[in-house]
């Protein structure tokens, strides 16, 4: 309160000044207690509100990580599929000497060529389990290749040709196809 000096002296020196001061103090104290009560009622609500926002942000962060992990898994699966389809997969079929994922006569030929050249064949091609890799294993691979119960072969690479064969005259029917 800006009072000129004479007025201030008169105001501070009187009894009214004391009463006014005490009233203002009481008023201020009451207002301050009201603010504190207001704060006390708002703060818990605000804390709950901001806690929910923080939780949502954490959830969004977790979802992003989950999405990234899923994308990484898909990318890894795709790479693995491409890698396996590229013919570089390890031999998982017994007797797959050429390591092309199929068992056919070319595996028998490859092993026979190795033995015929005097090279030491991979012990993994001891198909009959007699401790040696020799002609018997070549025959065993060939027998497996033509087995009707376990016939392998990459059917997708081949062409099937069907030709009707009339039983009457003429008695020769020709059919054909290719790879």
């Amino acid at each position: 309160m800006n009072l000129r000096a004479p007025e201030r002296d008169a105001f501070e020196g009187g009894t009214g000044a004391e009463a006014l001061r005490s009233d203002l103090s009481a008023l201020a104290a009451r207002e301050l207690s009201g603010v504190a009560a207001l704060d006390g009622s708002i703060l818990p609500v605000a804390r709950v509100h901001f806690a929910r926002i923080a939780e949502k942000r954490r959830m969004v962060g977790r979802r992003r990580w989950a999405q990234l992990a899923a994308a990484a898994a898909i990318a890894l699966l795709a790479c693995t599929t491409v890698w396996l389809g590229d013919g570089r997969r390890p031999a998982v079929i017994a007797g797959d000497v050429t390591r092309d994922g199929t068992l056919d006569i070319l595996d028998a030929l490859a092993l026979a060529r190795t033995i015929d050249a005097g090279e030491v064949p991979d012990a993994a091609f001891d198909i009959d389990g007699d401790g040696r890799v020799n002609q018997r294993d070549v025959d065993a691979i060939a027998v497996r290749a033509v087995s009707l119960s376990t016939s392998g072969g990459d059917q997708a690479r081949h062409t099937t040709v069907t030709v009707a064969a009339p039983l009457g005259s003429p008695s020769i029917t020709r059919g054909g196809g290719g790879s």
């Binding site: 050429t98 199929t102 056919d104 006569i105 070319l106 028998a108 030929l109 490859a110 026979a112 060529r113 015929d116 025959d139 060939a142 027998v143 290749a145 033509v146 087995s147 009707l148 119960s149 016939s151 072969g153 990459d154 059917q155 081949h158 062409t159 099937t160 040709v161 069907t162 030709v163 009707a164 064969a165 009339p166 039983l167 008695s171 020769i172 029917t173 020709r174 059919g175 054909g176 196809g177 290719g178 790879s179």
Partner: protein, 168 residues
């Protein structure tokens, strides 16, 4: 002895005609039944055929081959497998599963360690499959090349064909 007058015979004529008609119908029906039965009897038709299998590897020397041959229609049984024409594969028949005998499907394979200049090129008969065919239905066959390789063991492209000879 009962004596029947002409009038009595006239009165009995319709009854006699009915009895005769019934007996004739019964006899014809019996014959019809026999004819149907005879027509339904299946005719016995068994014949044999030889199917020559060929591979044409073009200019590539053929060191190994594997084909699948099977009947897709008709009652067909494989009764024999014969080796091909080229000496480099020997006189022994190719590899095959013994279960293919009396079956309608077989996988054949053979290889040779001969030098490139001794291996066949172009079209060569690799094997002959002998089959037994039953019934009137015309058989259908399917043949596919599963593998063909050259003297280096490398996979090569080739064309397969077959020719069937009916033994009359």
């Amino acid at each position: 002895m009962i004596h029947l007058s002409f009038v009595d015979w006239l009165r009995a004529a319709p009854v006699v005609a009915l009895i005769l008609q019934f007996l004739v119908a019964l006899n014809l029906g019996e014959h019809r039944g026999r004819w149907v039965t005879q027509d339904d009897e299946p005719r016995s038709s068994t014949r044999f055929a030889a199917i020559d299998l060929f591979i044409d590897s073009g200019n590539d020397p053929l060191a190994a081959w594997q084909v699948e041959f099977h009947a897709t229609k008709g009652v067909v049984r494989i009764v024999g497998i014969e080796s091909g024409e080229h000496a480099v594969f020997g006189d022994d028949p190719p590899y095959y599963d013994p279960d293919a005998m009396m079956n309608d499907r077989v996988i054949l394979a053979q290889y040779s360690l001969g030098r490139a200049d001794s291996l066949p090129t172009g079209r060569t008969r690799i094997a002959t499959v002998h089959v037994q065919i039953e019934g009137e239905m015309e058989p259908q066959f399917s043949m596919l090349l599963q593998a063909a390789g050259d003297d280096e063991g490398c996979r090569i492209a080739a064309e397969v064909t077959f020719e069937m000879r009916i033994d009359q």
